[in-house]
Symmetry: C2
Subunit: 229 residues, 2 copies
Amino acid sequence: MCGQCGCEKHQNKPTLQRLELHQGLLSRNDSQACHNRAHFQAHGLMTLNLLSAPGSGKTALLEQLARHWPRQPIGVIVGDLATDNDARRLQAAGARAVQIRTGDLCHLDAALVDEAFHKLDCSGVDLLMIENVGNLVCPTAFDLGEQRRMAVLSVTEGEDKPLKYPALFKSVDAVVINKMDLAEAVNFQREVAITNLRAIAPQAELFELSARTGQGLELLIAWLDGQAA
Amino acid sequence: MCGQCGCEKHQNKPTLQRLELHQGLLSRNDSQACHNRAHFQAHGLMTLNLLSAPGSGKTALLEQLARHWPRQPIGVIVGDLATDNDARRLQAAGARAVQIRTGDLCHLDAALVDEAFHKLDCSGVDLLMIENVGNLVCPTAFDLGEQRRMAVLSVTEGEDKPLKYPALFKSVDAVVINKMDLAEAVNFQREVAITNLRAIAPQAELFELSARTGQGLELLIAWLDGQAA
Protein backbone atom coordinates (compact mmCIF):
# COMPACT_ATOMS: atom_id res chain seq x y z
CA MET A 1 0.00 0.00 0.00
CA CYS A 2 1.12 3.51 -0.78
CA GLY A 3 2.07 5.42 2.34
CA GLN A 4 0.86 8.74 0.95
CA CYS A 5 -2.55 8.16 -0.61
CA GLY A 6 -3.53 4.58 0.12
CA CYS A 7 -3.40 3.34 -3.48
CA GLU A 8 -2.17 -0.17 -4.12
CA LYS A 9 1.55 -0.19 -4.83
CA HIS A 10 2.47 -2.37 -7.76
CA GLN A 11 5.08 -5.02 -7.34
CA ASN A 12 7.90 -4.98 -9.85
CA LYS A 13 10.23 -7.91 -10.29
CA PRO A 14 11.83 -7.50 -13.69
CA THR A 15 15.43 -7.86 -12.58
CA LEU A 16 15.88 -11.61 -12.94
CA GLN A 17 14.23 -11.86 -16.35
CA ARG A 18 16.26 -8.94 -17.62
CA LEU A 19 19.44 -10.48 -16.35
CA GLU A 20 18.80 -13.81 -18.06
CA LEU A 21 18.04 -12.20 -21.37
CA HIS A 22 21.00 -9.88 -21.05
CA GLN A 23 23.30 -12.84 -20.45
CA GLY A 24 21.90 -14.63 -23.50
CA LEU A 25 22.58 -11.66 -25.73
CA LEU A 26 26.02 -11.15 -24.23
CA SER A 27 26.98 -14.78 -24.68
CA ARG A 28 26.13 -14.62 -28.38
CA ASN A 29 27.94 -11.29 -28.63
CA ASP A 30 31.06 -12.72 -27.00
CA SER A 31 31.26 -15.53 -29.57
CA GLN A 32 31.01 -13.02 -32.39
CA ALA A 33 33.61 -10.80 -30.68
CA CYS A 34 36.07 -13.70 -30.58
CA HIS A 35 35.54 -14.17 -34.29
CA ASN A 36 36.10 -10.45 -34.88
CA ARG A 37 39.28 -10.45 -32.81
CA ALA A 38 40.78 -13.29 -34.82
CA HIS A 39 39.70 -11.54 -37.98
CA PHE A 40 41.31 -8.23 -36.99
CA GLN A 41 44.53 -10.00 -36.00
CA ALA A 42 44.63 -11.87 -39.30
CA HIS A 43 44.54 -8.49 -41.03
CA GLY A 44 47.37 -7.11 -38.86
CA LEU A 45 45.15 -4.47 -37.29
CA MET A 46 45.38 -2.83 -33.87
CA THR A 47 41.74 -2.20 -33.03
CA LEU A 48 40.37 0.24 -30.48
CA ASN A 49 36.81 0.72 -29.21
CA LEU A 50 36.17 4.43 -28.51
CA LEU A 51 33.49 5.27 -25.94
CA SER A 52 32.05 8.53 -24.63
CA ALA A 53 28.94 10.58 -23.99
CA PRO A 54 27.38 12.35 -26.98
CA GLY A 55 29.37 15.42 -27.93
CA SER A 56 32.60 14.66 -26.09
CA GLY A 57 34.57 14.96 -29.29
CA LYS A 58 35.17 11.38 -30.44
CA THR A 59 34.85 12.27 -34.12
CA ALA A 60 37.01 15.38 -33.82
CA LEU A 61 39.67 13.24 -32.14
CA LEU A 62 39.48 10.66 -34.94
CA GLU A 63 39.77 13.41 -37.56
CA GLN A 64 43.05 14.47 -35.93
CA LEU A 65 44.27 10.86 -35.78
CA ALA A 66 43.34 10.38 -39.42
CA ARG A 67 45.49 13.39 -40.35
CA HIS A 68 48.45 12.68 -38.07
CA TRP A 69 48.77 8.88 -37.82
CA PRO A 70 52.27 8.03 -39.07
CA ARG A 71 51.03 5.25 -41.38
CA GLN A 72 47.94 6.62 -43.08
CA PRO A 73 45.19 5.87 -43.81
CA ILE A 74 43.50 4.71 -40.61
CA GLY A 75 40.29 2.68 -40.73
CA VAL A 76 37.20 3.76 -38.81
CA ILE A 77 33.91 2.00 -38.14
CA VAL A 78 31.53 4.58 -36.72
CA GLY A 79 28.19 3.99 -35.04
CA ASP A 80 25.27 6.39 -34.71
CA LEU A 81 21.54 5.93 -34.37
CA ALA A 82 20.99 8.04 -37.48
CA THR A 83 22.90 10.06 -40.13
CA ASP A 84 26.23 9.31 -41.81
CA ASN A 85 27.63 12.71 -40.79
CA ASP A 86 30.58 11.21 -38.94
CA ALA A 87 31.71 8.85 -41.72
CA ARG A 88 31.67 11.76 -44.15
CA ARG A 89 33.69 13.95 -41.77
CA LEU A 90 36.23 11.16 -41.31
CA GLN A 91 36.53 10.41 -45.01
CA ALA A 92 37.19 14.12 -45.60
CA ALA A 93 40.04 13.84 -43.07
CA GLY A 94 41.57 10.98 -45.05
CA ALA A 95 40.26 7.96 -43.12
CA ARG A 96 38.67 4.88 -44.62
CA ALA A 97 35.34 5.06 -42.81
CA VAL A 98 32.19 2.93 -42.76
CA GLN A 99 29.07 4.17 -40.99
CA ILE A 100 26.79 1.88 -38.98
CA ARG A 101 23.31 3.31 -38.44
CA THR A 102 21.90 1.48 -35.43
CA GLY A 103 18.32 2.81 -35.62
CA ASP A 104 17.20 2.68 -32.00
CA LEU A 105 20.01 0.46 -30.74
CA CYS A 106 21.98 2.20 -28.00
CA HIS A 107 25.36 0.52 -28.58
CA LEU A 108 27.39 -1.28 -31.20
CA ASP A 109 27.55 -5.05 -30.97
CA ALA A 110 30.06 -7.47 -32.42
CA ALA A 111 27.77 -8.58 -35.26
CA LEU A 112 27.20 -5.01 -36.46
CA VAL A 113 30.94 -4.40 -36.38
CA ASP A 114 31.59 -7.62 -38.29
CA GLU A 115 29.14 -6.58 -40.97
CA ALA A 116 30.71 -3.13 -41.29
CA PHE A 117 34.23 -4.56 -41.29
CA HIS A 118 33.45 -6.55 -44.41
CA LYS A 119 32.64 -3.29 -46.20
CA LEU A 120 35.95 -1.69 -45.22
CA ASP A 121 38.99 -1.79 -47.47
CA CYS A 122 41.78 -2.54 -44.97
CA SER A 123 44.68 -2.83 -47.39
CA GLY A 124 47.61 -0.83 -46.02
CA VAL A 125 45.72 -0.05 -42.80
CA ASP A 126 47.23 -0.97 -39.41
CA LEU A 127 44.95 0.99 -37.04
CA LEU A 128 41.20 0.41 -36.89
CA MET A 129 39.20 2.71 -34.63
CA ILE A 130 35.62 1.82 -33.73
CA GLU A 131 33.64 4.89 -32.70
CA ASN A 132 30.79 3.60 -30.57
CA VAL A 133 27.36 5.20 -30.13
CA GLY A 134 27.58 8.21 -27.80
CA ASN A 135 26.46 6.60 -24.53
CA LEU A 136 28.25 6.08 -21.20
CA VAL A 137 26.21 3.03 -20.19
CA CYS A 138 25.14 0.44 -22.74
CA PRO A 139 28.29 0.02 -24.87
CA THR A 140 30.25 -1.07 -21.78
CA ALA A 141 29.06 -4.68 -21.75
CA PHE A 142 29.57 -5.37 -25.46
CA ASP A 143 32.95 -6.67 -26.52
CA LEU A 144 33.42 -5.83 -30.20
CA GLY A 145 36.61 -7.86 -30.59
CA GLU A 146 38.79 -4.82 -29.99
CA GLN A 147 42.28 -5.06 -28.51
CA ARG A 148 42.06 -1.80 -26.57
CA ARG A 149 39.25 0.33 -25.23
CA MET A 150 39.42 4.08 -24.66
CA ALA A 151 36.98 6.57 -23.11
CA VAL A 152 36.76 10.26 -23.96
CA LEU A 153 35.61 12.69 -21.28
CA SER A 154 35.35 16.38 -22.06
CA VAL A 155 36.03 19.13 -19.54
CA THR A 156 32.53 20.54 -20.11
CA GLU A 157 30.84 17.42 -18.72
CA GLY A 158 31.77 17.75 -15.06
CA GLU A 159 34.46 16.18 -12.94
CA ASP A 160 32.26 13.47 -11.41
CA LYS A 161 31.41 11.49 -14.52
CA PRO A 162 33.83 8.60 -13.71
CA LEU A 163 32.06 8.19 -10.35
CA LYS A 164 28.63 8.24 -12.00
CA TYR A 165 29.48 5.79 -14.80
CA PRO A 166 32.00 3.52 -13.06
CA ALA A 167 31.47 0.36 -15.12
CA LEU A 168 32.52 2.07 -18.33
CA PHE A 169 35.59 3.75 -16.85
CA LYS A 170 36.67 0.53 -15.11
CA SER A 171 36.60 -1.25 -18.50
CA VAL A 172 39.00 0.99 -20.44
CA ASP A 173 42.74 0.93 -21.14
CA ALA A 174 42.96 4.68 -21.62
CA VAL A 175 41.02 7.88 -20.95
CA VAL A 176 41.28 11.06 -22.98
CA ILE A 177 40.28 14.27 -21.22
CA ASN A 178 39.25 16.34 -24.22
CA LYS A 179 38.50 20.05 -24.83
CA MET A 180 41.36 21.13 -22.56
CA ASP A 181 41.30 24.44 -24.48
CA LEU A 182 37.97 25.12 -22.68
CA ALA A 183 39.18 24.13 -19.21
CA GLU A 184 39.50 27.68 -17.96
CA ALA A 185 36.23 28.89 -19.50
CA VAL A 186 34.25 26.15 -17.72
CA ASN A 187 36.31 26.33 -14.50
CA PHE A 188 37.39 22.69 -14.92
CA GLN A 189 38.69 21.29 -11.63
CA ARG A 190 41.51 19.22 -13.09
CA GLU A 191 42.74 17.71 -9.83
CA VAL A 192 39.24 16.67 -8.77
CA ALA A 193 38.62 15.04 -12.15
CA ILE A 194 41.94 13.17 -12.08
CA THR A 195 41.39 12.04 -8.47
CA ASN A 196 37.97 10.68 -9.50
CA LEU A 197 39.42 8.97 -12.56
CA ARG A 198 42.26 7.43 -10.57
CA ALA A 199 39.78 6.15 -7.94
CA ILE A 200 37.68 4.35 -10.56
CA ALA A 201 40.17 3.57 -13.31
CA PRO A 202 43.70 3.27 -11.86
CA GLN A 203 44.58 0.95 -14.77
CA ALA A 204 43.95 3.55 -17.46
CA GLU A 205 46.54 5.61 -19.31
CA LEU A 206 45.52 9.27 -19.14
CA PHE A 207 45.81 11.86 -21.91
CA GLU A 208 44.83 15.50 -21.62
CA LEU A 209 44.36 17.11 -25.00
CA SER A 210 42.29 19.27 -27.28
CA ALA A 211 41.04 17.58 -30.42
CA ARG A 212 40.15 21.02 -31.74
CA THR A 213 43.61 22.57 -31.44
CA GLY A 214 45.66 19.37 -31.58
CA GLN A 215 47.38 20.24 -28.28
CA GLY A 216 48.53 17.00 -26.57
CA LEU A 217 47.72 14.75 -29.52
CA GLU A 218 51.31 13.54 -29.98
CA LEU A 219 51.34 11.66 -26.67
CA LEU A 220 48.19 9.77 -27.59
CA ILE A 221 49.60 8.89 -31.01
CA ALA A 222 52.81 7.61 -29.40
CA TRP A 223 50.79 5.43 -27.01
CA LEU A 224 48.61 4.05 -29.81
CA ASP A 225 51.71 3.35 -31.85
CA GLY A 226 53.19 1.39 -28.93
CA GLN A 227 50.00 -0.66 -28.62
CA ALA A 228 50.00 -1.42 -32.33
CA ALA A 229 53.61 -2.64 -32.35
CA MET B 1 31.81 -16.13 -46.66
CA CYS B 2 33.98 -13.17 -45.84
CA GLY B 3 35.02 -11.23 -48.92
CA GLN B 4 38.40 -10.31 -47.50
CA CYS B 5 39.92 -13.43 -45.97
CA GLY B 6 37.58 -16.32 -46.71
CA CYS B 7 36.52 -16.97 -43.12
CA GLU B 8 32.96 -18.04 -42.43
CA LYS B 9 30.77 -15.06 -41.68
CA HIS B 10 28.48 -15.61 -38.72
CA GLN B 11 24.78 -15.04 -39.12
CA ASN B 12 23.14 -12.78 -36.58
CA LYS B 13 19.38 -12.57 -36.18
CA PRO B 14 18.77 -10.98 -32.81
CA THR B 15 16.36 -8.30 -33.98
CA LEU B 16 13.05 -10.14 -33.61
CA GLN B 17 13.81 -11.62 -30.20
CA ARG B 18 14.99 -8.28 -28.93
CA LEU B 19 11.88 -6.61 -30.21
CA GLU B 20 9.55 -9.07 -28.50
CA LEU B 21 11.30 -8.75 -25.19
CA HIS B 22 11.46 -5.00 -25.50
CA GLN B 23 7.72 -4.85 -26.10
CA GLY B 24 7.07 -7.04 -23.07
CA LEU B 25 9.09 -4.75 -20.83
CA LEU B 26 7.48 -1.67 -22.31
CA SER B 27 3.99 -3.02 -21.88
CA ARG B 28 4.63 -3.62 -18.18
CA ASN B 29 6.25 -0.20 -17.91
CA ASP B 30 3.26 1.49 -19.55
CA SER B 31 0.87 0.01 -16.98
CA GLN B 32 3.05 1.26 -14.16
CA ALA B 33 3.33 4.68 -15.85
CA CYS B 34 -0.47 4.97 -15.95
CA HIS B 35 -0.53 4.25 -12.25
CA ASN B 36 2.16 6.89 -11.65
CA ARG B 37 0.30 9.47 -13.72
CA ALA B 38 -2.89 9.04 -11.70
CA HIS B 39 -0.84 9.16 -8.54
CA PHE B 40 0.92 12.41 -9.52
CA GLN B 41 -2.39 13.99 -10.50
CA ALA B 42 -3.98 12.96 -7.20
CA HIS B 43 -1.19 14.86 -5.47
CA GLY B 44 -1.73 17.97 -7.65
CA LEU B 45 1.72 17.71 -9.21
CA MET B 46 2.92 18.88 -12.61
CA THR B 47 5.56 16.29 -13.48
CA LEU B 48 8.33 16.63 -16.02
CA ASN B 49 10.81 14.02 -17.29
CA LEU B 50 14.19 15.67 -17.98
CA LEU B 51 16.44 14.01 -20.55
CA SER B 52 19.93 14.75 -21.84
CA ALA B 53 23.41 13.44 -22.49
CA PRO B 54 25.74 13.17 -19.49
CA GLY B 55 27.08 16.57 -18.53
CA SER B 56 24.57 18.77 -20.36
CA GLY B 57 23.67 20.54 -17.15
CA LYS B 58 20.41 18.92 -16.03
CA THR B 59 21.32 19.16 -12.35
CA ALA B 60 22.57 22.74 -12.63
CA LEU B 61 19.28 23.66 -14.31
CA LEU B 62 17.30 21.98 -11.53
CA GLU B 63 19.35 23.81 -8.89
CA GLN B 64 18.30 27.09 -10.51
CA LEU B 65 14.67 25.98 -10.66
CA ALA B 66 14.79 24.93 -7.02
CA ARG B 67 16.00 28.41 -6.10
CA HIS B 68 13.68 30.43 -8.36
CA TRP B 69 10.43 28.46 -8.64
CA PRO B 70 7.69 30.80 -7.37
CA ARG B 71 6.15 28.16 -5.07
CA GLN B 72 9.08 26.46 -3.38
CA PRO B 73 10.08 23.78 -2.67
CA ILE B 74 10.12 21.73 -5.87
CA GLY B 75 10.35 17.94 -5.75
CA VAL B 76 13.04 16.08 -7.67
CA ILE B 77 13.53 12.39 -8.36
CA VAL B 78 17.02 11.96 -9.77
CA GLY B 79 18.50 8.92 -11.46
CA ASP B 80 22.15 7.95 -11.80
CA LEU B 81 23.95 4.66 -12.14
CA ALA B 82 25.98 5.42 -9.03
CA THR B 83 26.48 8.14 -6.37
CA ASP B 84 23.95 10.41 -4.69
CA ASN B 85 25.88 13.54 -5.69
CA ASP B 86 22.94 15.04 -7.53
CA ALA B 87 20.36 14.59 -4.75
CA ARG B 88 22.76 16.24 -2.31
CA ARG B 89 23.35 19.17 -4.69
CA LEU B 90 19.60 19.60 -5.15
CA GLN B 91 18.82 19.40 -1.46
CA ALA B 92 21.44 22.09 -0.85
CA ALA B 93 19.56 24.25 -3.37
CA GLY B 94 16.33 23.81 -1.40
CA ALA B 95 14.66 21.00 -3.35
CA ARG B 96 13.09 17.90 -1.87
CA ALA B 97 15.17 15.32 -3.68
CA VAL B 98 15.28 11.52 -3.73
CA GLN B 99 18.12 9.71 -5.52
CA ILE B 100 17.60 6.54 -7.53
CA ARG B 101 20.78 4.55 -8.08
CA THR B 102 20.13 2.34 -11.10
CA GLY B 103 23.28 0.20 -10.90
CA ASP B 104 23.86 -0.75 -14.53
CA LEU B 105 20.41 0.23 -15.80
CA CYS B 106 20.67 2.86 -18.53
CA HIS B 107 17.33 4.61 -17.93
CA LEU B 108 14.68 5.19 -15.32
CA ASP B 109 11.53 3.12 -15.57
CA ALA B 110 8.10 3.73 -14.12
CA ALA B 111 8.53 1.21 -11.28
CA LEU B 112 11.76 2.85 -10.08
CA VAL B 113 10.08 6.24 -10.15
CA ASP B 114 7.07 4.88 -8.24
CA GLU B 115 9.36 3.49 -5.56
CA ALA B 116 11.25 6.79 -5.24
CA PHE B 117 8.03 8.79 -5.23
CA HIS B 118 6.86 6.98 -2.11
CA LYS B 119 9.98 8.24 -0.33
CA LEU B 120 9.34 11.87 -1.30
CA ASP B 121 7.48 14.26 0.98
CA CYS B 122 5.25 16.09 -1.53
CA SER B 123 3.31 18.28 0.92
CA GLY B 124 3.23 21.81 -0.47
CA VAL B 125 4.97 20.75 -3.69
CA ASP B 126 3.34 21.45 -7.07
CA LEU B 127 6.26 20.76 -9.44
CA LEU B 128 7.99 17.37 -9.60
CA MET B 129 11.02 17.10 -11.86
CA ILE B 130 12.39 13.67 -12.77
CA GLU B 131 16.04 13.87 -13.79
CA ASN B 132 16.66 10.81 -15.92
CA VAL B 133 19.97 8.97 -16.37
CA GLY B 134 22.27 10.92 -18.71
CA ASN B 135 21.62 9.07 -21.97
CA LEU B 136 20.17 10.23 -25.29
CA VAL B 137 18.89 6.79 -26.32
CA CYS B 138 17.40 4.40 -23.78
CA PRO B 139 15.22 6.71 -21.64
CA THR B 140 13.20 7.67 -24.73
CA ALA B 141 10.97 4.59 -24.78
CA PHE B 142 10.11 4.59 -21.07
CA ASP B 143 7.06 6.57 -20.02
CA LEU B 144 7.46 7.43 -16.33
CA GLY B 145 3.95 8.82 -15.93
CA GLU B 146 5.14 12.38 -16.53
CA GLN B 147 2.91 15.08 -18.00
CA ARG B 148 5.69 16.82 -19.91
CA ARG B 149 9.06 15.78 -21.26
CA MET B 150 12.01 18.11 -21.84
CA ALA B 151 15.46 17.60 -23.37
CA VAL B 152 18.57 19.57 -22.51
CA LEU B 153 21.21 20.06 -25.18
CA SER B 154 24.36 22.02 -24.39
CA VAL B 155 26.20 24.19 -26.90
CA THR B 156 29.39 22.17 -26.33
CA GLU B 157 27.85 18.96 -27.73
CA GLY B 158 27.60 19.93 -31.38
CA GLU B 159 24.75 21.20 -33.50
CA ASP B 160 23.85 17.84 -35.06
CA LYS B 161 22.72 15.96 -31.94
CA PRO B 162 18.97 16.25 -32.76
CA LEU B 163 19.68 14.60 -36.12
CA LYS B 164 21.71 11.84 -34.48
CA TYR B 165 19.22 11.08 -31.70
CA PRO B 166 15.91 11.81 -33.44
CA ALA B 167 13.65 9.52 -31.39
CA LEU B 168 14.42 11.37 -28.17
CA PHE B 169 13.99 14.85 -29.63
CA LYS B 170 10.74 13.85 -31.37
CA SER B 171 9.35 12.73 -28.01
CA VAL B 172 9.75 15.98 -26.05
CA ASP B 173 7.52 18.97 -25.36
CA ALA B 174 10.43 21.36 -24.85
CA VAL B 175 14.16 21.66 -25.52
CA VAL B 176 16.59 23.73 -23.48
CA ILE B 177 19.78 24.78 -25.22
CA ASN B 178 22.05 25.15 -22.22
CA LYS B 179 25.49 26.71 -21.60
CA MET B 180 24.71 29.67 -23.87
CA ASP B 181 27.43 31.55 -21.93
CA LEU B 182 29.92 29.25 -23.73
CA ALA B 183 28.41 29.66 -27.20
CA GLU B 184 31.10 32.00 -28.43
CA ALA B 185 34.00 30.05 -26.90
CA VAL B 186 32.93 26.85 -28.69
CA ASN B 187 31.88 28.63 -31.90
CA PHE B 188 28.31 27.37 -31.49
CA GLN B 189 26.41 27.62 -34.79
CA ARG B 190 23.09 28.70 -33.34
CA GLU B 191 21.15 28.82 -36.59
CA VAL B 192 22.35 25.38 -37.65
CA ALA B 193 21.38 23.92 -34.29
CA ILE B 194 17.92 25.51 -34.36
CA THR B 195 17.34 24.43 -37.96
CA ASN B 196 18.24 20.85 -36.96
CA LEU B 197 16.00 21.01 -33.90
CA ARG B 198 13.08 22.41 -35.89
CA ALA B 199 13.49 19.67 -38.51
CA ILE B 200 13.27 16.91 -35.92
CA ALA B 201 11.17 18.46 -33.16
CA PRO B 202 8.87 21.15 -34.60
CA GLN B 203 6.46 20.51 -31.70
CA ALA B 204 8.94 21.52 -29.01
CA GLU B 205 9.10 24.81 -27.15
CA LEU B 206 12.65 26.12 -27.31
CA PHE B 207 14.58 27.87 -24.54
CA GLU B 208 18.12 29.21 -24.81
CA LEU B 209 19.69 29.74 -21.42
CA SER B 210 22.65 29.32 -19.15
CA ALA B 211 22.00 27.31 -16.01
CA ARG B 212 25.30 28.59 -14.68
CA THR B 213 24.54 32.31 -14.96
CA GLY B 214 20.74 32.10 -14.82
CA GLN B 215 20.45 34.01 -18.12
CA GLY B 216 17.16 33.08 -19.85
CA LEU B 217 15.80 31.08 -16.92
CA GLU B 218 12.72 33.28 -16.44
CA LEU B 219 11.17 32.21 -19.76
CA LEU B 220 11.49 28.55 -18.85
CA ILE B 221 9.95 29.16 -15.43
CA ALA B 222 7.03 31.02 -17.04
CA TRP B 223 6.44 28.12 -19.44
CA LEU B 224 6.59 25.53 -16.66
CA ASP B 225 4.22 27.64 -14.60
CA GLY B 226 1.78 27.69 -17.52
CA GLN B 227 1.96 23.90 -17.85
CA ALA B 228 1.35 23.44 -14.15
CA ALA B 229 -1.78 25.63 -14.13
